[in-house]
Structure formats: structure tokens, C-alpha cells
């Protein structure tokens, strides 16, 4: 039987229609990267050494936004969580919670973009699950992914590794994802050419892991809470101060404009394809060169430095020449951006 044009409750029943969904839509999309057979759990052969293991759930609203969709986000987010730990992504799991009535073509488009990211990064889909809930009980689709990766030897990127004298690099423009999603949200909608930066960071950082592992002290992806939250975490975990320079922050004009309109601070706005790199200052030029030679890192810039003073605090040298504190964003800044 062919698939209906919308997902029905029966597609999550475990019966015949569940099989139809699996056989006609999901398996064909993932056939090249699927671990078979489809038993209750996947049995993995892991390389020797340490293994990185992570999970994340994706509830972004809307499901499609400029520059991406929830499928691409679910693949990139989990891959990036592995990469930030110095892990080579190997396997992903895929849990789908679908709201009854989701157009089947939407589900197909979303899974196609998820599959494309896995394929490009040589990540295998190890296991999965599909549930369908009644209309009104989910916002179209929620995705959970878990990821497994191999920790590369000699790479230690823990947030507690920052030392006074280190420099802070961001691999590109900040705030693009949060503003792109906001621009497409019901009730907001403003015209912008801006697209989300959602991207897997393995290819950008692989050469750095391979050639300059010792230069890297900390790696973080500034997702929810933006650069502000990530840098505050680093300052606290390493018990150091951080000074950021507002004039060095790469921010697109559209992001700056939207932030001023909505009263947001670009430092607080989420990114989905950027990394913060805290590094040995002697290696900064080498790292910048390596990052900038990849399309995802062309706008990489040094945005600040690690200091011994005021441990645990992050300060911003403003473009007016003054100074202020950078703190963790509080409250519901932009709900459901990832």
C-alpha cells in the first residue's frame, strides 16, 4: 500500500502502516548508511580508546527555517557535540515523535536533509524509533538523536582547560541561527536574506585535530545562550577571567539590525555552525589560517583573551571604549530555536 499524504496515528502503531512508513520512506533514504539488520538494538564495533557519547532533542519552531530544517539541525547538533569533545562522529540514533497530520512530503524533506549530513560526514545511522502522537500534542515533529564518536588521541578540549594568556577565537559570524529562526516565526516574520548557519563542524576542525592538537585548549559550540553563555561557562570552569572585544566580534549587519529591533544582544543569540576555540596564543596565527582555509571558517576571528584577573567573570570592551560585564542570558530569550 502506498503512503498517505499525511502521517496518521496508525503509522506509529507498530503494525502494517508502521512497516509501510519504514520500508517506503525511511529505509530508502538511509539505505547507504544504515546499519542492518533492523533488530531491537544495534551492535557496534568500536575502535580502541575512549568513546564519546551524547544525546540531544530538537523541538525547533518552525520546522523549516531559512538555511535549514529540523532534520539538518538534529544531525548537525549531535555531530557538533561529539566534535567539540574532540570526537570523530561514527554513529547516530534517530528518534522521531511525529504529530498526526504532518505532511508526508515534509517528513521526507526533513529526513533527506538529515541523511545528507550523515552521508557527507561518513556517519552511520545505527538505530531508530518512530512514534506518532495525536494532533495538538506536538508541534509537527520532534527529533531526538544520540551520537557516538571516537575520541581522538592527544585532543583535550574540556571547558576547564583555559589559562591566562590564551586567546579566544570564534570560527565565524555570530547570532545567525537565532535571528534566522526568529525571522520566520509566526507573528514576527521580517524580510531578511539571512540564513541559519546550521552546519556540521567535523570537516572544519578535523585538520586542526590532526595537525595542531596541542594548540587547542578548549572547544565549545555556542548554541543556546550564544557566545555569552559558552564563554561564561569556560570562565567559570577554568576559574579565569575572559575579556572580549566588541569591535572584533564578527556580526552580520542583518543580525545587528534584528537584535537592536528586538532588544537582543547578539552575544546571547544561538549559533548552530560555529565553534569557540580557546588556544595557546603562539598558535593563534596557525589556527586562524587553518580555520580560514575552510569555507565554514572564512570569517574566523580572535574575539578576546583569557586573563587571570576577576576569575569566573567575562567582560566586554565595548566599541565606545567602555567596559561591561557579560553574563549568562536569563529567562526565555528566544524559545525553541533548536
Amino acid at each position: 500500500m502506498g503512503l498517505t499524504d499525511r502521517i496518521l496515528l496508525a503509522h506509529g502503531s507498530g503494525g502494517r502502516q508502521s512497516q509501510d512508513l519504514l520500508q517506503q520512506l525511511i529505509i530508502p533514504l538511509f539505505k547507504d548508511i544504515l546499519l542492518t539488520p533492523l533488530d531491537d538494538s544495534a551492535c557496534l564495533s568500536l575502535p580502541a580508546g575512549q568513546t564519546a557519547f551524547t544525546t540531544d532533542s530538537y523541538v525547533v519552531d518552525p520546522l523549516f527555517f531559512p538555511g535549514g530544517d529540523i532534520g539538518r539541525l538534529a544531525a548537525c547538533g549531535t555531530i557538533n557535540d561529539l566534535v567539540m569533545q574532540g570526537g570523530k562522529p561514527l554513529f547516530l540514533s534517530l528518534g522521531l515523535i511525529i504529530e498526526e497530520g504532518l505532511p508526508t512530503t515534509d517528513l521526507q524533506r526533513i529526513l533527506e536533509s538529515l541523511a545528507a549530513v550523515l552521508q557527507d560526514n561518513e556517519v552511520r545511522l545505527a538505530t531508530g524509533d518512530t512514534k506518532v502522537v495525536q494532533r495538538g500534542q506536538a508541534n509537527g515533529l520532534y527529533i531526538n538523536t544520540a551520537g557516538i564518536g571516537r575520541c581522538l588521541p592527544g585532543v583535550d578540549t574540556s571547558s576547564s582547560n583555559a589559562r591566562p594568556g590564551d586567546e579566544v577565537i570564534v570560527t565565524g559570524t555570530i547570532g545567525d541561527h537565532g535571528v534566522a529562526v526568529l525571522s520566520h516565526r509566526q507573528g514576527v516574520r521580517f524580510e531578511t536574506e539571512l540564513t541559519s548557519d546550521v552546519a556540521p563542524l567535523w570537516a572544519l576542525l578535523k585538520p586542526v585535530f590532526e595537525h595542531h592538537p596541542a594548540a587547542l585548549h578548549v572547544l565549545r559550540d555556542p548554541t543556546r545562550g550564544g557566545v555569552a553563555a559558552a564563554v561564561c561557562d569556560i570562565a567559570r570552569a577554568s576559574n579565569v577571567g575572559v575579556v572580549l572585544n566588541e569591535r572584533s566580534l564578527p556580526i552580520r549587519a542583518e543580525v545587528r539590525g534584528a537584535c537592536s529591533l528586538f532588544g537582543l544582544d547578539p552575544l546571547d543569540v544561538a549559533n548552530e555552525g560555529k565553534a569557540l576555540v580557546v588556544c595557546n596564543p603562539k598558535e593563534t596565527p596557525t589556527l586562524l589560517e587553518a580555520l580560514r582555509s575552510h569555507p565554514l571558517g572564512q570569517q574566523a576571528a580572535v574575539i578576546g583573551s583569557v586573563v587571570a584577573e576577576s576569575p569566573g567573570l567575562v567582560r566586554l570592551r565595548t566599541r565606545a571604549g567602555g567596559e561591561r560585564l557579560v553574563d549568562l542570558p536569563a529567562g526565555e530569550l528566544l524559545p525553541r530555536i533548536c
Binding site: P250, S310, R319, A320, G321, G322, D327, G331
Partner: protein, 374 residues
């Protein structure tokens, strides 16, 4: 291009002149920035760390969320608990504590509270969901009033009978008059609100210069605007002048926007209004004209009218709003009251004075003591 614009070359020169004038003037001066957007901009740009030590910027009652009294929140909470009522609000109000609950807590408990960026969202939802009743929480100053007036007019034109407005709109000049009657407040000048003045023009501040002999400058919100504004105030102080000057020429015109005011006068009429910290001030609020009473939530749901609320006695938001104390002088600041667990509205609002001091002003000792000067 993606890198932040450099500070204008004029900024340095203006700061230099300001430091020279401040030395010549010889005594400390206190200027009030009335508007919450100015408060936030001053902190975000680090402006306070650039001013001479002898110039203090005090924050005024210009944050709409902060001056909204707790009984308004209590009434909104009571509305949220009614069957089929959907509350539509600007996001800042969600976490403001009323006397017993907040809209955020009501939402977690099952009430329907939707965050909107425009009052027109409430109309759109009301049209889509005719079986439900939508109440928009209309708070704000002269800047927000035209958009709310347009929404009321549209609701009336479209005969949308399932949307209404709970109004606590406020007017700035009567509040400034009330504020300056306090003998405890010693000011040397006012940085007048830029956006409010786009609507009302500079003329309503004339009494501040004439009767109170206070220099007034209407300033914009860029760091350069604010530095220029403070410098203009200082020049007046040095020259013993008290005038209303406009720094924000690119947006503020004499007379303001007459059409916008005519629009809101067709929908609203002046009324007494209660301000947190300042109490009842005559003619400082707006209520819907009788011909729009069908869209007045206060009349439609009389059962939700509440007695004046008991506010947390330890919370000193009221005095912070009158610049009588600095946030750090409140016993709750940063210990019992944080943006995560706010006790008063000044810690909640993105334009609140306590939120600004908490977020941007808590430097390590020695890094910058500027914001802590009273």
C-alpha cells in the same frame, strides 16, 4: 561587512571635553536618564565607565514593565484563570511577580498565555479562533500607544468581539512632574526619552526647565548620542542655563507626531493611573473612551478586578524607580532577587534598572566601580 563599526571620531573629542568641563564645574552632578532603553544602552555600551567620576547617571521611571503595579499582574492572573480566556502579552510581563503568582507560573499551571510582538497578533488569533476570548495586556508609554490604538480601532472595524484590552498605558510628562515633587531627589538635569519624544516632541518638558530650572536634552540611543546628550547637559550646567535641547534631531521634531497623537486621542482619554513607586498620578494614564467599552477587559470581566496588591515589603523597586536608592542598596539585590528568581519588576524587564545593574554592572572589585556611585 561583518565587523562592528568603529566609534565615531567625534566620540573621543566629546568625552575629552566632558572630562574638562566636569573638572571646571568642580562639583558632582546627577543627571537622570528617564528611559529604560537609555539605562540599558548606557550599560551595554560601557558608557558609565567612560564618564567623569563626578557625573552620576541615575535611572528614572521609564521602563513600562517596572512601573506597572502588582495589582495589574494580579488582574491579568485572574483573567488567565477564566475558562477559554487566552492572555496575549509582551514577553517581559511573563515573569513579573504579582502578589501571589505570575503569568509564567499560571502558564505552567495550564493557563493559556501567548507572547506577542505586536498587539495585532491578538487580533489575528482572535479571528482564527472565534470560540476563545483573547485579552491583550496593554502596557507601555507614548511609544507603544499608537500601535495599541490602531489595534483597538481595527478590532472595532472588524467587529471582533472576542478580543479585548486590559489597559495600563502611561504618559511620561505627568510622571516626571510627580517625580520632581519629591524633595529627596536632587537632580542637575534630565536626559529625556528619545522614542517617547518622537511622539510628543520636546515641548512637554518645557516645565522642567522653566519651573524646576533643570537642563533637559532629548537624546538618541547610540553610545555617541548619549555621550553627546550628557555633554549638552553639562554645558548647560556650566553655563547655568536650563533649556530643553534636542540631540536626537534625526528622529525628534518640534511638535512630535501630531497624527499619531490624534489617533490615540480618538481611542483613549486621560485617566488617573497608579505607578509602582510613585502611586496615583492624575492624568498620567489612558483609558478606552466609552464608545470602545466593548473592547475594555476591565469592564468585560469585572469579576477579575482586584484590590490594591500587597507588594513584597523588602523589595525597593519603588524607590529605585524614583532614583532614591541604587539597586545595590536593596537588601534583595543579587541575593534574594536575580533575573532567574525576580522579586520585583525592575529585575525582570529587559529595560529594568536592577536587571541592567545585575547583568552589566557587577564587576569584580576594582574593574569598574562607576555604576555603584549613588
Amino acid at each position: 561587512m561583518t565587523v562592528s563599526p568603529a566609534p565615531s571620531p567625534g566620540l573621543k573629542a566629546q568625552l575629552l571635553e566632558m572630562h574638562q568641563l566636569a573638572r571646571q564645574f568642580g562639583r558632582p552632578v546627577k543627571y537622570m536618564e528617564v528611559c529604560g532603553t537609555h539605562t540599558m544602552a548606557a550599560f551595554r555600551s560601557g558608557l558609565r565607565t567612560l564618564l567623569p567620576e563626578s557625573i552620576s547617571l541615575l535611572s528614572g521611571p521609564g521602563c513600562p514593565v517596572c512601573v506597572t503595579p502588582a495589582d495589574f499582574i494580579d488582574q491579568a492572573v485572574a483573567l488567565a484563570r477564566l475558562q477559554d480566556v487566552v492572555i496575549v502579552t509582551f514577553g517581559d510581563l511573563l515573569r513579573v511577580p504579582g502578589s501571589r503568582s505570575s503569568l509564567e507560573r499560571e502558564r505552567a499551571g495550564g493557563a493559556e498565555v501567548r507572547v506577542a510582538y505586536s498587539p495585532l497578533d491578538a487580533l489575528a488569533w482572535a479571528a482564527q479562533e472565534p470560540q476563545r476570548r483573547f485579552v491583550f495586556l496593554a502596557i507601555g508609554f507614548e511609544t507603544t500607544i499608537p500601535a495599541i490604538a490602531v489595534s483597538v480601532l481595527q478590532a472595532a472595524e472588524r467587529r471582533l468581539d472576542n478580543v479585548s484590552f486590559l489597559c495600563a498605558l502611561k504618559l511620561m510628562p505627568p510622571a516626571l512632574a510627580a517625580l520632581l515633587r519629591s524633595p529627596a531627589l536632587k537632580l542637575d538635569g534630565l536626559l529625556c526619552p528619545g522614542h517617547v519624544s518622537v511622539m510628543i516632541g520636546p515641548e512637554p518638558y518645557a516645565f522642567l526647565a522653566k519651573s524646576h530650572h533643570l537642563p533637559c536634552v532629548v537624546a538618541g540611543f547610540e553610545p555617541g548620542d548619549m555621550v553627546a546628550g550628557v555633554l549638552m547637559l553639562l554645558r548647560q550646567s556650566c553655563g547655568h542655563r536650563a533649556e530643553v535641547e534636542i540631540q536626537y534631531h534625526r528622529s525628534v521634531k518640534p511638535g512630535g507626531l501630531l497624527r499619531a497623537r490624534q489617533l490615540w486621542e480618538s481611542v483613549f482619554e486621560p485617566s488617573p493611573s497608579r505607578w509602582r513607586g510613585l502611586g496615583w498620578i492624575p492624568e498620567s494614564g489612558l483609558k478606552l473612551r466609552p464608545e470602545f467599552s466593548a473592547w475594555d477587559a476591565d469592564r468585560l470581566y469585572p469579576e477579575t478586578q482586584v484590590p490594591a496588591a500587597v507588594e513584597n515589603p523588602a523589595c525597593r523597586c519603588g524607590e529605585v524607580l524614583q532614583a532614591l536608592v541604587l539597586p545595590g542598596q536593596c537588601p534583595l539585590f543579587a541575593s534574594g532577587c536575580t533575573p532567574e528568581e525576580p522579586q520585583g519588576p525592575c529585575m525582570v524587564s529587559s529595560e529594568g534598572t536592577c536587571a541592567a545593574y545585575y547583568r552589566y554592572g557587577r564587576m569584580a572589585s576594582g574593574a569598574s566601580a562607576a555604576p555603584e556611585r549613588a
